[in-house]
């Protein structure tokens, strides 16, 4: 069992990697969003995460909690679509749950993320199975209790599982049956976040002690 803990640098690396992944996949996110949404998910997240990455580089916060709360706040103010307040709330609540600890264990992060996911559910009023980001976030936060790789796989599987679902929240819900057969853009971007987390954790564990 790993007793590794992760500091502010790790969390900055995570969000920087997430920004790069969003940038790389922006076209795909927008394509998914043009099928059942308003075709702005890629560009909106690209703008938000670019702002997050720039701020992290310029004014790096000292604790994991501060990295996440600052990033969350920035997403709320820069994204311009529903994913801004939703991802912003996820990161802010997760960051608040971490408090001012200087280092955080994987299981500690899993517990904090569960609080963040619950806050997202309260804000948007969505439940599992509604074809939203929660369908990836919920299983991923839970699987993070086992390992970073399990969280990545759970998020990816959760995103794929939205394909046959009927959308019950957001603009896609107006489409009714026509939303079936499309992968949810929000669940897809959530999977990118957890893939970035697993990548950065793999790199950190490979050079143990430098995270």
């Amino acid at each position: 069992m790993s007793t590794e803990t992760y500091g502010a640098g790790f969390f900055r690396d995570w969000l920087t990697a997430a920004a790069a992944a969003v940038d790389r996949e922006a076209g795909r996110l927008t394509e998914l969003d043009s099928a059942i949404g308003d075709a702005d998910h890629g560009a909106n997240l690209q703008r938000g995460f670019a702002a997050v990455a720039a701020t992290l580089e310029k004014e790096p916060p000292a604790t994991p909690g501060a990295v996440l709360t600052g990033a969350g706040r920035q997403l709320i103010s820069t994204v311009g679509g529903a994913s801004g307040p939703l991802y912003g709330t996820l990161l802010r609540r997760t960051g608040k749950a971490l408090g001012d600890a200087e280092r955080v264990s994987r299981t500690g992060l899993a517990e904090a993320l569960a609080a963040g996911v619950a806050a997202v559910s309260r804000l948007g009023g969505a439940r599992p199975g509604d074809k939203t980001m929660l369908d990836a976030l919920g299983p991923a936060a839970e699987a993070l209790g086992d390992s970073f790789a399990a969280a990545r796989e759970a998020a990816e599987a959760g995103a794929l599982a939205t394909v046959p679902m009927l959308a019950r929240k957001g603009r896609a819900s107006y489409l009714g049956e026509r939303s079936v057969g499309h992968q949810d853009p929000g669940a897809t971007s959530s999977a990118l976040l957890f893939a970035a987390l697993a990548d950065v954790a793999g790199a950190a564990d490979a050079v143990e002690g430098t995270s």
């Binding site: 709320i76 311009g80 679509g81 529903a82 804000l123």
Partner: protein, 143 residues
């Protein structure tokens, strides 16, 4: 109820209203409509529509600016259209310090609620009366 810093609003301390829409034109037009129907000497009503670059969407920056400008110390009622407008205002309220003290999200139909809220606020109604009047607009059936 008084905010910690008074940044704008009505000289006679009436409740301010902010209209948050995905579209700048919708927010501005509904504000104009409400002003026209509420008569002379209305309480402050500020549009916060679209994104800062003029596109469709929701801007936290425009919302906080409008809320500060509408705040006369008696509270600010925020009416929203849908989706990210609702979620952004909720998230800003959860932040605690982004919006003026006494800012409140009103669960009301956008156009009818704006008119009811402005008439009530202009007549000197407090924040509870303004939000109740706006929410009551849901009860008016059209057939």
């Amino acid at each position: 109820m008084s905010g910690p810093v008074r940044t704008g609003g009505d000289a006679s301390g009436r409740v301010g209203i902010v209209l948050v829409s995905h579209s700048a034109a919708v927010a501005a037009s509904v504000a104009e409509l409400a002003r026209g129907l509420a008569g002379a000497d209305t309480a402050p009503i500020l549009p916060a529509g679209g994104t800062p670059d003029g596109g469709l969407g929701t801007s936290a920056e425009l919302i906080t600016e409008a809320a500060k400008a509408a705040d006369g110390g008696a509270g600010v009622a925020l009416l929203v259209d849908l989706g990210s407008a609702v979620l952004t205002v909720k998230a800003l309220l959860a932040e605690g310090d982004e919006l003026p003290e006494g800012a409140r999200l009103v669960d009301a139909p956008f156009v009818e609620g704006a008119v009811a809220a402005l008439v009530t606020a202009s007549a000197g109604g407090d924040l509870a009366a303004v939000t109740a009047a706006a929410a009551e607009a849901y009860a008016y059936r059209k057939e």
